[in-house]
């Protein structure tokens, strides 16, 4: 299911039936409340898959496997969450570490075949039941255009845009997730947006 972005950003935080904050949920999970993990999964499933896809590239066959690894890692490391930063900052850090480990393993497996991925257009063409066909087509085309432009960015640019424009993380929080200075976040984000604007313009001309 593709969530409607117009409402996702509002509803996603309350998608879970639990009214607890992320931090409360992870603490409840540590204390043995299994449902708390399900609530966190509901809140972050698509966001983590998207972040992993931006990191690995949309052609990677391993996106969902690696995203599952992220949640397994959350299960294993839940006790190490100390609450010094927001849960989602911690979670995105875990996710990027899992991606990095996966990419290292992939690079080491020289003899394995290179991953061929799903087609962006095919992904974007997945049906969304809540929209009428015309609206769905327009959205599909628009999404394909934007996704194509995003795909041509570097993974570092895609991730910084995701963390800022989808996750609404502050520059300080992004710096914490990426382990880089705030100044780097600022310039990287600026370059990413400028590059995206350029790629969108090229995509529009082509279409």
């Amino acid at each position: 299911m593709i969530l409607n972005p117009a409402v996702d950003r509002v509803t996603i935080a309350t998608a879970s039936s639990s009214g607890d904050s992320d931090e409360q949920l992870i603490r409840r999970y540590v204390l043995g409340d299994r449902h708390a993990f399900g609530h966190l999964l509901d809140r972050y499933r698509q966001r983590i898959v998207t972040l992993v896809r931006y990191r690995l590239g949309s052609r990677s066959l391993w996106v969902e496997d690696v995203a599952q690894d992220v949640f397994l890692q959350v299960h294993r490391k839940a006790r190490s969450f100390e609450g010094r930063s927001a849960f989602k900052t911690w979670l995105f850090g875990v996710a990027l570490n899992v991606c990095r480990d996966h990419l290292r393993r992939e690079r080491r497996a020289i003899h394995s075949s290179t991953s061929g991925g799903e087609d962006d257009a095919a992904l974007a063409a997945l049906p969304c039941e809540s929209l009428d066909p015309l609206e769905m087509l327009e959205r599909t085309e628009r999404d394909a255009l934007i996704r194509g432009a995003i795909e041509r960015l570097t993974h570092a640019n895609r991730i910084v845009l995701h963390l800022r424009d989808w996750e609404d993380l502050s520059y300080d929080e992004i710096a914490e997730v990426l382990a880089v200075p705030v100044g780097t976040v600022r310039s990287r984000l600026h370059n990413a947006r400028a590059k995206l604007a350029q790629e969108l313009a090229i995509g529009l001309k082509r279409s």
């Binding site: 299911m1 593709i2 969530l3 409607n4 972005p5 996702d8 950003r9 999964l41 499933r45 698509q46 966001r47 898959v49 998207t50 896809r53 996106v63 969902e64 496997d65 995203a67 599952q68 949640f71 397994l72 299960h75 992904l123 997945l126 969304c128 959205r139 628009r142 999404d143 934007i146 996704r147 432009a149 995003i150 845009l161 995701h162 800022r164 424009d165 989808w166 502050s170 520059y171 600022r186 310039s187 984000l189 600026h190 947006r193 400028a194 995206l196 604007a197 969108l200 313009a201």
Partner: protein, 165 residues
Amino acid sequence: MDCQSVFDRLSADLDGELPPAEAAAVRRHIQTCAECSRTRGQLEKARSAFRAIALEPVGDNFDDGIFRRLRDGQQRRRWLSAAAGVAAMLGIVLLLRAPRPAPGIMGGPRTPPFAAFDIPPGMITNPADAAADCARSGAVVCHVSTPCADELCRSATVAAFTDIH
């Protein structure tokens, strides 16, 4: 503030991440510079475009995969701990059934054949004779104290222990 300085700050300004004084300077510049104003508009469109796309779809079996892997991991841990328990039990049984260590070695009880040769160094005048006596006694291991070379300390000092066999 010149165009380059403003350009570097446009994105941060869009995000409300500039200090108030810098943000005010950027806004003042944009009001008078068409080029920077146009660039700001492009960056804003890029931001809107990124925000507008739908999140990636997730396979129906995503959650099942996580819970299956969690269960598999727990099962593997249970098997490993069971195997470790069995190994520990076997180790204990083998230890209990193993022959006793040689007397006097590793704290084992001293039995007469070895005790006969566990003589204070001062009492052994000839280590070779003591070794021969030990061998005849059938002791598993003989430790014979070698007397100190110094005649004066012979009765008090252990110079070395020698494995005869």
